[in-house]
C-alpha cells in the first residue's frame, strides 16, 4: 500500500528524512523558500551547457522519447 503525499507535505518529509528536527513554523519557513527557489532551479536545467550532449531539456521535449519511460524502440 502506498501513501500519497501532497506537495505541501513534501518539504517536511524531506527534512525529516534528512534527520532534521525543527519546529513546525521553521519547517513552514524553509518550505516557503524551497517552493520559491524551485522555479529558479528548474530554470538551470534549461541552460544549454557546453560540456557535450544536448541540453537536458531536450530529453523531455513534447513528442520525443523521454528517458523516464525508458529508451524508445528502434
Amino acid at each position: 500500500m502506498t501513501t500519497e503525499m501532497t506537495a505541501a507535505q513534501l518539504p517536511a518529509a524531506l527534512l525529516t528524512a534528512a534527520g532534521i528536527e525543527a519546529p513546525a513554523e521553521e519547517i513552514a519557513e524553509i518550505s516557503r523558500f524551497y517552493e520559491a527557489l524551485r522555479d529558479q532551479v528548474e530554470q538551470l536545467y534549461l541552460v544549454e551547457t557546453a560540456d557535450g550532449g544536448p541540453p537536458p531539456s531536450h530529453l523531455h521535449r513534447a513528442g520525443e522519447p523521454s528517458l523516464s519511460n525508458g529508451p524508445a524502440d528502434d
Partner: protein
C-alpha cells in the same frame, strides 16, 4: 586628546617613514577610537589591545633598527571572525563553533600580513558562519551602519566594513562567497576586493561554500587593496585550491590611466532591472562617463545567464555549507541562529542532479565570461539595487529572489572590486563593481584606482563625535 590619523594605509606608511607617526601612536589612537565608537557600531567581537600594542612597539623598534618589512609595516588591521588568529578565539559569530577552532594558529592570510609587519588589532563581526543574517538572541555584537545606525551594514563581512568606514582600522580582511566583501563595502562606502578564486589561500577560514570561498582585502582605497593583495596572494601548501599563478606587484601597476581601457557595460539585467534605484544607477553611469571622459573606451556588452548564474551560485554555496554543517544541524539545531539554520537546511531539498546542473551552468558561464573578456578589459556594474536598507525594511524574500549583481562573479571565480561612486537616498553611499578576467586583479585595481584619483567619494567618512579627527 585629538589624534591625527591618516585615512589610508598608503598615507600612514608615508607618515611612518617620514617620522611623523609611529605604529605605537597610530595603534593607540585606533584602539581609543574603537573604545569610543564600537559600543554603538558593533564592529568588533574581540579587541587585542595588549598584543596589538606590543606588536606596534616591535614594529617601531624594527624600523628604528633599519629593518623595513614593506608598506604594511606597523599598519593596524582587523580580521573577520571566521579567520583563525593565534592570539584570539574564532567564533564565526556562532555558539556552535568549538572553542578550540583554529588551534591558536594564524590562517596563512593572517600569517602573511604579520610577516609583512602588520599589527592585528581585533576580530570583526560577521553573519553567523558568513551566511544568513544575525540573530540577536545569540549574544554577539549587532553591527550597525556608521552612516545611519538604523540601517544595515550588510554582510557577511559586516564588522570589517564598519571598522574601515568608521576609521577604527586602516584595512581589514573579509571573506566573500556570494558577495560578502562587496556588499558591506558598498553599504558603508569603502573599497572591497573579491580576488579570483584561488588567488589567496583560504585555509584557516571556516568554510561556507568551498567552490566559491575567497579571502579579500577591505580598505578605504583601491591602492590600499592592492598593497594588501600583493602580500596576501600566492600558493600555500595548506590549501590545494590556492593557485601558483604569479603574483604581480599590484600597486606598481596602478598608473592612474584608463586611456584605451575597454570598459564593458552590460545594460540588460544589471542596469535595466526595475528594482534598481534610479539615483543609484545614475551614480554608476556618471562614474562610467567620467572614465570615458578620461580615455576609457565604453562598450555596450551583453552578459548572458546573469540570472541563472546568480541562482547557480546560491545553490552551490548553500549545498556546500549544508555539507559542512549537516552533522551539527542534526544535533544542535537550536544552537544555530534561526536565519542560518533555515537557510542551510534548504539544501536538504536539492538533489545531486540539481548540484551537478549548477556546476554545468558554472562551466558555461565561465566560458561566456572568457569570451567577453577577449574583447574588453573590465566590466562595470552596480554593487547593489540601492543604498543600505533600513533594518525595518529588510525583506529576506527580496534578498533571496530579487536581482543581485554580486553572485555572478563568485560563480565564475573572477576578481571584482566594489568602490564608492557617490551618495544616494539619505546621504548613504552608492557603489559600483569593476569586474575583470580570471586572475586579472591588476586591471580591476588599475581602473578602480584611476577612478579614485579623479574623485573623493572613497575618502568621505560617516559623521562621528569630534574627539577623533583625521588628516587627509
Amino acid at each position: 586628546m585629538t589624534e591625527q590619523i591618516p585615512q589610508t594605509i598608503a598615507a600612514a606608511a608615508s607618515a611612518i617613514r617620514a617620522g611623523d607617526l609611529t605604529s605605537a601612536g597610530l595603534t593607540s589612537a585606533l584602539l581609543d577610537r574603537i573604545g569610543q565608537l564600537d559600543p554603538d557600531l558593533g564592529a568588533f567581537v574581540t579587541v587585542s589591545r595588549e598584543r596589538a600594542t606590543e606588536a606596534a612597539a616591535r614594529a617601531d623598534a624594527e624600523l628604528s633598527a633599519g629593518r623595513d618589512r614593506g608598506l604594511l609595516h606597523g599598519i593596524p588591521l582587523a580580521v573577520k571572525d571566521i579567520i583563525s588568529t593565534r592570539e584570539m578565539p574564532t567564533f564565526g559569530n556562532s555558539r556552535v563553533t568549538d572553542q578550540g577552532w583554529g588551534n591558536g594558529t594564524d590562517a596563512p592570510a593572517v600569517r602573511r600580513l604579520r610577516s609583512a609587519g602588520a599589527v592585528v588589532i581585533g576580530k570583526t563581526t560577521t553573519n553567523e558562519f558568513a551566511s544568513g543574517l544575525g540573530d540577536p538572541s545569540k549574544g554577539f555584537p549587532e553591527p550597525r551602519n556608521p552612516w545611519d545606525s538604523e540601517r544595515t551594514p550588510a554582510g557577511s563581512s559586516s564588522g570589517s566594513g564598519i571598522a574601515v568606514a568608521a576609521g577604527m582600522a586602516l584595512g581589514a580582511l573579509g571573506t566573500d562567497t556570494g558577495g560578502s566583501v562587496r556588499a558591506p563595502a558598498a553599504a558603508v562606502g569603502i573599497s572591497g576586493l573579491k580576488p579570483s578564486h584561488g588567488r589567496v589561500p583560504k585555509s584557516g577560514v571556516i568554510p561556507l561554500g568551498y567552490s566559491q570561498d575567497t579571502v579579500g582585502p577591505m580598505a578605504r582605497s583601491a591602492m590600499d587593496c592592492a598593497l594588501l593583495l600583493e602580500v596576501l596572494a600566492g600558493a600555500d601548501a595548506s590549501d590545494p585550491s590556492a593557485s601558483d599563478v604569479r603574483v604581480p606587484r599590484y600597486a606598481q601597476l596602478l598608473t592612474g590611466s584608463v586611456e584605451g581601457t575597454r570598459v564593458g557595460v552590460p545594460a540588460r539585467y544589471f542596469f535595466d532591472s526595475p528594482e534598481l534605484d534610479p539615483q543609484y544607477r545614475d551614480a554608476v553611469i556618471a562614474a562610467i562617463d567620467l572614465l570615458g571622459d578620461h580615455g576609457a573606451v565604453v562598450v555596450d556588452t551583453e552578459v548572458p545567464l546573469a540570472r541563472e548564474s546568480r541562482d547557480a551560485s546560491t545553490l552551490l554555496w548553500i549545498c556546500d555549507g549544508y555539507a559542512y554543517h549537516r552533522r551539527n544541524l542534526l544535533t544542535r539545531w537550536s544552537d544555530y541562529g534561526r536565519p542560518t539554520r533555515t537557510l542551510l537546511a534548504q539544501a536538504a531539498f536539492y538533489s545531486a542532479a540539481d548540484y551537478v546542473q549548477a556546476q554545468r551552468v558554472q562551466n558555461r558561464f565561465r566560458s561566456e565570461l572568457a569570451r567577453i573578456f577577449a574583447d574588453i578589459d573590465v566590466l562595470i556594474v552596480p554593487s547593489a539595487l540601492g543604498v543600505a536598507e533600513r533594518f525595518s525594511d529588510m525583506k529576506v524574500e527580496r534578498r533571496r529572489l530579487g536581482p543581485n549583481f554580486l553572485a555572478q562573479w563568485s560563480l565564475a571565480g573572477n576578481p571584482v572590486i566594489a568602490i564608492p561612486c557617490g551618495f544616494g537616498e539619505g546621504g548613504l553611499p552608492c557603489s559600483l563593481q569593476v569586474v575583470g578576467p580570471a586572475f586579472g586583479e591588476a586591471a580591476v585595481l588599475r581602473v578602480a584606482d584611476a577612478y579614485q584619483r579623479l574623485t573623493s567619494f572613497h575618502l568621505r567618512r560617516p559623521p562621528r563625535p569630534s574627539a577623533a579627527t583625521d588628516k587627509s
